[in-house]
Assembly symmetry: C2
DNA sequence: ACAAAAGTGTTGCTTCTACACCCATGA
DNA sequence: TCATGGGTGTAGAAGCAACACTTTTGT
């Protein structure tokens, strides 16, 4: 930024802006990508579904506000919210995106493992918080449908060149579970042996948990367990097939 | 966002936020990456260099404000500003990033071809606008050094998997010029024949201008001319070498 | 003739893809 | 013993890196 408002630095010289945060929090559950939504308890859009979020307080950064609102509005466990990897998506600033007043919203994306349904009784304004599958997402308040669409595009391409997919998995996971994350988010079918090799030969993507194994589908050979490794980028990337394979 | 301020919708109920935009506009000139900076004419940081930018007006989106401020503060040609590809970098919202008041800033990145020095006399608050090489960038006002660093990281990786490099080139360019863009931004040396093949075999990256050729260094064989093609993504990507080759 | 820059060809290596096949477990 | 999911092997194709070599211009 640069330059001051012409009359000087009077903070009240302009029509004020409100600054909010919105969160697109995703998880993979039962072969479908789900997003965490709340049902609004107040006007405008009372009763409609919306992304969790809310106003940034005077002494907060957007990141801090995002974490606070997520904890308040959804029943996500304390620890999950604290450790969450939040990533800025972009900022939405169209003048009429909120009917009340001028509201600029900083949108974030986050990925979490499949968790139990959040406590139905969130605090704050949210009457209800639920995971809903993207395929049958209801109409959303404000411009949240657009934000959600942008967030989905972002995470789809992020899986290609980052190690973020492990964020969808519990602390210890099988390669089959990791594969399912990719297949679900990309809506494709990947070759299991090749996927396996790619993941294991990328240094730092995953680390084996020695000796550990787990049965997944009830049947079949128990699968070895892995933890997320220290790597964050995927070089070279894991490209998704172009044609819709599914 | 969701939920209203507790007392209702009174826009003045909270300490107001100001919303600004900041722009990191890059060009490649003489083998060095340059950024467009202005010298501030007012307090705070009067006399210091800063990224161009300014306040978002009540009826503007951040994108509109960015374009307007860029036109006002720097002498960039009308047409260049209108056609510019602006991309949001991220939003900076630390509470004390501006000493005057609470200011949240939406940062943008843009790439332009090597242009003549902007008119020294920008309008608005900017006393002066200049291209400065990144290597010898001065201290910047506010948190602009951090924004600039983030922007640089972003464009470096964007060259890998998008066709954005052509935005640094004039409408018609040689492959040698495009190569120079990559080598400058990445600070590496690339193999010319391999680079050439990669660019030409990526559908839609560049289009040949039939029959056209241009002498570049004064000497040597005239180079064929190309235009930017319709493609925007680079699949598969053009990965930069890891070790600092230069 | 020489230097400089553009452009072509070739070879070997690495990576990816497709698919066949074996292993461990529950029903 | 069969179905199911985990895991290994391999041959062909594709892509990439390195480098030798040809072409066209100005001096």
């Amino acid at each position: 930024m640069s330059g001051a408002p012409e009359p000087g630095y009077d903070p009240y010289a302009f029509e004020p802006f409100a600054v909010t945060v919105d969160l697109a929090v995703f998880t993979v559950r039962g072969g479908a990508l789900h997003v965490l939504l709340i049902r609004r308890g107040q006007e405008p859009y009372a009763g409609a579904w919306a992304l969790p979020g809310g106003f940034v307080l005077p002494r907060e950064s957007a990141e801090t506000a995002a974490r606070r609102e997520l904890a308040e509005e959804t029943g996500l466990p304390e620890q999950v919210v604290a450790d969450l990897h939040l990533e800025q998506l972009r900022t939405y600033s169209e003048p009429d995106r909120d009917p009340r007043m001028r509201v600029v919203s900083v949108a974030f994306t986050a990925l979490v493992p499949d968790l139990p349904e959040p406590a139905a009784e969130g605090g704050g304004d949210a009457a209800q918080a639920r995971w809903l599958p993207l395929g049958q997402a209801p109409d959303l308040a404000f411009d949240h449908a657009a934000i959600l669409a942008d967030a989905r595009i972002r995470i789809r391409s992020k899986l290609e060149y980052t190690c973020l997919a492990t964020a969808f998995c519990p602390p210890e996971f099988t390669l089959g579970e990791l594969l399912a994350v990719y297949e679900t988010v990309w809506d494709t079918v990947l070759d299991r042996p090749n996927f396996r090799r790619k993941v294991l030969t990328t240094p730092g993507f995953v680390e084996a948990v020695p000796g550990a194994a787990r049965l997944t589908g009830g049947r079949g050979k128990p699968a070895a367990l892995y933890r997320a490794g220290p790597a964050t980028a995927l070089h070279p990337p894991l490209l998704r097939p172009e044609g819709p394979t599914r």
